[in-house]
Symmetry: C2
Subunit: 391 residues, 2 copies
């Protein structure tokens, strides 16, 4: 059901010819209200794509009627022409929605693009604009619109990612795309989350920031930060219920974690899904810094691909951080085997049993804080996929 699970949302996904594969590449999610509250977080990359520059202005108003998303081109670093394409897309979509009976202005339309940087020329523009009428019409009668939209935003993803959660009288639905270039800068991929929970915009905004902080922000498959990342949460307010905001925050956190894990296990070329937990840290920031630093070590990631419990590459990476710790008291546990205790060899590394999931726990013995970062191993498939992507 994806983004159409909550009351008040329609969606569609069509083929606009943006992707050489000829699969769906243009998606729409419409919020029919009564509320049009929206919250969003974006990449912190300073080289932002045109749709991010546009959408930041839209979501700053706290209201949005719809999101148009495309794969097959990031419309990033495509100049004034690229920005004009984003604006024309918003204007045309607003006109079509208005004609269909939902009065809408262009500044209520969020835009998300994904694909290659530098792609956003004439063909890209006409591909989108020419197919907007079909897209808007498809959303009006959308039994499978949620699934189609989730498919249309896929790039190197091998499966569509969707999730739903049910609260007391309301529902949250979400879709996500992203298989590479996953590293945080607030948000880390394209994600649209919908709910019919009647919540005010500031509540939605706080809940979204809290949820992304401990989920999408901690997925770091290859250390590379996208120019287009966006996570959007829209509320239609169509559910006739009174919502407990604590429960909502909890369910939204669960849904974000669910989508994050779907992105994680579908990461480009990954053979192992690695969770790196740093505990005993002086602060959550320290724990996060250490986990993230280890998660970005190519030597560590290659060792895990080779199923080598190489704790030396873990401590070498810990040592590059400015976190608070005593270099002589670090413990490292891999899949339950404490291979390093007090910064020295301990259990026999041969005892470590490897499966798809790899669990690394680093204890700094410097405090009580903890944080987990999720990453992938460095594999031949990752190299293959990313050395041949644009050719």
């Amino acid at each position: 059901m994806s983004v159409t699970a909550p009351l008040g949302f329609t969606a569609a996904g069509v083929t606009a010819g943006l992707k050489p594969s000829g699969t769906k590449d243009l998606a729409l999610v419409v919020n029919e209200g009564p509320s049009t509250a929206v919250a969003a977080v974006y990449t912190s990359n300073r080289c932002k794509a045109n749709p991010v520059i546009w959408s930041e202005q839209v979501s700053a108003t706290g209201h949005a009627r719809a999101v148009v998303l495309n794969s097959g081109g990031a419309n990033c670093y495509t100049g004034d022409f690229g920005f004009a394409t984003t604006q024309l897309t918003a204007e045309e979509t607003a006109t079509l929605l208005t004609d269909a009976g939902t009065p809408t202005s262009a500044d209520e339309i969020l835009i998300c693009s994904t694909g290659l940087i530098g792609v956003g020329g004439e063909e890209f523009r006409s591909g989108i604009l020419d197919h907007l009428p079909e897209l808007v019409a498809a959303a009006e009668d959308s039994v499978t619109g949620g699934e189609n939209a989730a498919e249309a935003i896929m790039t190197t993803d091998t499966v569509a990612k969707t999730a739903t959660r049910d609260g007391e009288g309301y529902t949250i639905g979400g879709m996500a795309k992203g298989a590479g270039m996953l590293a945080p800068g607030l948000a880390t991929m394209l994600v649209v989350i919908t709910t019919d929970a009647p919540l005010d915009q500031p509540v939605l905004d706080a809940a979204l920031r809290k949820a992304t902080h401990s989920t999408f922000d901690r997925l770091d498959t290859d250390g590379c930060m996208s120019t287009n990342d966006t996570v959007i949460l829209m509320s239609s307010g169509a559910a006739d219920t009174s919502v407990d905001s604590t429960e909502f925050e909890h369910l939204l956190g669960e849904l974000c974690h669910d989508l994050m894990r779907q992105l994680h296990i579908d990461a480009e070329g990954a053979h192992h899904d690695i969770a790196i937990t740093t505990r005993g840290a002086a602060s959550e920031d320290d724990a996060l810094t250490v986990s993230r630093s280890v998660g970005r070590s190519n030597l560590f990631k290659a060792a895990i691909f080779g199923e080598d419990p190489n704790w030396g590459r873990v401590v070498a990476q810990v040592g590059t951080t400015s976190a608070e710790f005593d270099p002589t008291t670090i413990d490292v546990t891999i899949n339950g085997v404490e291979v390093c205790r007090a910064s020295g060899p301990f259990a026999d590394p041969a005892e470590v049993v490897f499966g798809r999931e790899v669990d690394v726990v680093i204890d700094l013995h410097a405090g009580d804080a903890t944080a987990t970062v999720w990453t992938s191993d460095l594999t031949h498939d990752y190299v293959e996929e990313n050395s041949a992507y644009s050719t």
Copy 2:
């Protein structure tokens, strides 16, 4: 000739059985004076190996008689036993040199180790201590000692790295090892440089820091920082000449650049040797930050492996830095072809011709500063070598 090119130095390399390959793995460089001035820079990794902890104390005195180096074990995170091994090695070497006619104390002996973290147990200790007499004897009569020493410090290096430079009446010689885990933290590998130039310790120290800052510090093959990196410069003062310190600095810089490039082209699994120059930066720090950031992008490195001039992955990485720039005015030139101008597509990427050397120039148009970082592409061979290293 390596480290024995200057007057006043002897060297040796023998097999102590530390490496399963049975090749040379224990090296010695002795400074016979009259001066014993030394300068050294070390890894800035906070998880330091025992030999680094030891040698930092020795070089702080400004004087050293000899360096003992081993491959086949990093003696890092091996506890008190490992530190005692380092100390015993220094004591035994001092005794042997004294017996051979060169009065020496343990606190004049620098120690360097390289190999796997966590390796430094009984076998490692006895392997070294048992072979010190042979090592010291070999250095006494050392026509090929410099070559043997350079061989003995190799780990995954495919060739021994040596270089010499001749000044007005004096010589500089050097040897280096390092093929992976090359990322800067002051020094980035094991390097021993010798000279007979009669220069005071503060002059040597300043010259070494200046030279490493623009050479070894800017080689970043895989973003991983070692726990053992050390660069040592020893002067025997045996040349009977008056040295122009500017010329010395220049030659030392050349020699360090030469050794750095030898490390670069022998980097684990590399198919392309990449130089990333950022120009038009507001400061040298900004230029360095941008070049280094691009050099650490796995997506960019994989694209170069695939000979894909993917400038989008360059600008996406530039955007993650805090350097001063306007996101709309960035130029990117790859092997002489300006594929991106003013943050948009410009020359046809198909015009880029790839060879082993890849030259990337980023112009920020924010000032006059420039800096180059050298890195390698991300290849199947890198993954293969580093997923199977310790098994």
